[in-house]
Subunit: 461 residues, 2 copies
């Protein structure tokens, strides 16, 4: 779908809040979500516009969609957004977007002037409890930010931060799907076996009994996720040229991590309980259609870096496979909240476009062995970090002060909060808030909403 | 549930094939499965008896279950076996087992002499196409055989085969749920990036371009899986004393592995595409009730090994947390099949009972960080290998010949097949067959059926 009239910055909606310049949700965005209402059995699909939520189920019942209404009706039988994803939405989505845009345009009276339909179809964002936007049958997490991989690698291997495979193969692992929660859900600090103190002699570690208790190194990870559309049959790879027709849209992801648990458990099979206690996602899926004006060339690899293997290479993907998206991390401690202090910005970066692999490459790689991707699967980027000290997407990196003499790590450098508190890792009561948005001259700002979660103390033993 | 009249070896069924001494499925077993029939929309739950399949849906409709019939009817609304698992089955299951046992006893005329009901409720095993026995929302694979961990470790780290964490923490990782298939499904050889040749200099590896193509080191992994019952809420661990009330039953698992892909991709986040192309499971869930007579003490750790941390320790689990189960791996190549040669036994072991961690410990560890286990989740043991050369549960180990001078690996020692062929890893057309059974004097043999899969050539590029 090329840039078209649905991206026109002059387009205004009769939902006035959608016309405010700083809204995340102008008529040019229209992200999808699943939500619950007290009076409903199962959550319908919503589309966000300004500070309102448009109920697709009500609109479908009112027959405003014509031909695609039948597709939407079929899709509604079970979980509706999954039902849309399972269909070849590259066909349905542009028409659905056009139609929604038309219905919400300032000059279209159909819904605007139908008080009864409008009042049942359009509800306040505050009324809804947001759910995971799909059933998320499977969750995969990648490691696509080379800045993140290099910084973290330098903590464990000062002389050899990047492993030999990194520039050849997108590194990823299967995450835990069951513990993915929507923004706003409280996060219980995990208990677990904890690594011995930093940098012990290997001999000492081998005989030491590890501790078990609440994690002392709880961290967030700033990531971007994308939802899989139709997916593939088991045994049938997805060629790179078709990859984007399987990407429904994007959301923000906080892949909460317990670093002390991770450090102790992760060898040789990778992260497990250090991550599986919770992953928070923003509840709105910003569609690829809405992101169209913000497509940019894939990361330009430095001279000397290997060219991606043919199965991961397409000229079109190289030309516009990345997305120019700004990401922010904010934190508000319990003390800050109590004293009325606003959340503080911990990091801000524009590095999602500089991932070492594009979303299409990650998806094609994932299916290259024949693994069947399913509608509603979530694939996440891994921590998105930029090269600068204030662009790092997790506390593990932000409070890292590099290595000193003999490659030994220096003590961590705590962050100062406006309340006078300091943080090396997260404390109970801390709320972490991610924001994401696309901006470009000549286009409306497209926002992702928030990905928010507050840390609760560990459960009693 | 203690050993009771349902385990009585003298008990005979009017289904004559169930009384044959070598059957996997005597009246004392009664494993559950989901299957498809051409005339049905969705697969009903079946119970295997001899060479027959008893349809629970038909029996429920006929009202033979009394009080628990209501529970079964509720459970049948969606996917029935998942519906049973989600309920507190420690209450339902013993009653269901008793009732099924009663209905199938040689001296009970109710079903035996009701020709009409019997002919609709009891079908031939051959008629059914077996499905995954649950929806398997999540799949986790452990690494609980210390013999396997030690042998594989010695390939990569001859001086330090076991990592320091191994004896303290059950090592596991999230597997891919979507690509789990039922026994009998053909397996497409995966393509992927392949590791450079064995034991290259690290410098060489860093600059070398990896290959991409069909895996040359395709392997099976002999594992045992267990299905989760009710599960826990996010944030609420499952104490070790309650762990077994969350284990519904067991099956055989073949966690197919592409070793060349694995070797290249697995650092630092663990196995990914090397495993996610397919996992085969036997379709019958052998219940914990049926396995009761075969419970044995947990593996007795050698002097000097650490005692499990308190959250993983229960006297009851130590006393009878393991299961005495014999496992076999058979192989039949295409040539063998063409020449009428029977499958050949590759390995046989009784080492499942000697896993370093019991199923209860694995489950409790998994939920110890608050991770929510869901009904129908599959947890697998990891490759089950014994200490002996013919007890190894994968070709990676079976054809390994140890290390020679300077810690360098010796060439692999191919297996000889009756057809005159040799195998280091699997060839196209090879069929791998796992069998599992419990035997004990004074009890009927309880079998697991087969876990079978044939290797198809890689797809065209």
């Amino acid at each position: 779908m090329p840039v078209n009239e649905t991206h026109d910055p002059g387009l205004r909606s009769w939902v006035e809040s959608a016309n405010e310049p700083q809204t995340d949700f102008p008529i040019q965005n229209l992200p999808f979500c699943q939500f619950d209402l007290p009076q409903l059995d199962h959550g319908p699909v919503g589309v966000v516009i300004g500070d309102r939520l448009l109920r697709l189920d009500v609109l479908v019942a009112a027959g405003v969609f014509g031909e695609i209404g039948d597709t939407l009706k079929e899709a509604a039988v079970e979980h509706m957004l999954d039902g849309i994803m399972i269909r070849p939405f590259s066909d349905v989505m542009p028409r659905l977007r056009s139609r929604l845009c038309e219905l919400l345009r300032a000059d279209n009276p159909l819904l605007r002037d139908n008080t009864s339909l409008r009042s049942s179809a359009l509800i306040s964002l505050d009324e809804a409890k947001f759910l995971r936007p799909s059933l998320i049958p499977n969750y995969t997490d990648f490691y696509a930010s080379i800045h993140h991989a290099r910084t973290v690698g330098s903590m464990f291997r000062p002389d050899n931060p990047l492993l030999p495979n990194y520039k050849h193969i997108p590194i990823g692992y299967h995450g835990r799907a069951s513990s993915i929660v929507a923004s706003g859900t409280d996060i219980r600090r995990p208990r677990g076996q904890q690594s011995p103190p930093e940098d012990p002699a290997a001999e000492r570690r081998a005989t030491q009994t590890p501790g078990f208790g609440p994690s002392k190194m709880l961290d967030y990870e700033l990531e971007v996720g994308f939802f899989v559309g139709p997916g593939n049959e088991l045994g049938r790879p997805i060629p790179i040229g078709e990859a984007e027709s399987h990407i429904f849209g994007l959301c923000l992801v906080n892949d909460w991590s317990a670093r002390d648990i991770q450090k102790w458990e992760y060898q040789p099979l990778g992260p497990f309980l250090a991550k599986s206690f919770a992953t928070t996602i923003s509840p709105f899926i910003v569609t690829m259609e809405a992101l169209e004006p913000f497509r940019v060339p894939a990361f330009r690899r430095p001279e000397g870096d290997p060219r991606p293997l043919p199965y991961l290479w397409s000229d079109a993907d190289q030309a516009r496979g990345a997305i120019d998206l700004t990401l922010e991390v904010w934190l508000q401690s319990e003390q800050m909240r109590a004293r009325g202090l606003s959340p503080v910005l911990l990091s801000k970066s524009n590095s999602f476009k500089d991932l070492y692999w594009t979303p299409a490459q990650l998806l094609t790689h994932h299916a290259s062995n024949g693994c069947n991707l399913q509608p509603g699967d979530l694939l996440a980027s891994g921590t998105v970090s930029g090269p600068g000290a204030t662009e790092r997407g997790c506390l593990l990196e932000l409070t890292w002060d590099g290595t000193g003499e003999g490659g030994k790590p220096r003590p961590r450098k705590p962050l100062q909060l406006p309340s006078g508190e300091t943080r090396t890792f997260l404390a109970d009561g801390d709320e972490v808030i991610f924001k994401g948005y696309c901006e470009r001259d000549g286009f409306r700002r497209i926002g992702f909403g928030e990905c928010r979660g507050r840390v609760l103390p560990a459960s009693a033993e």
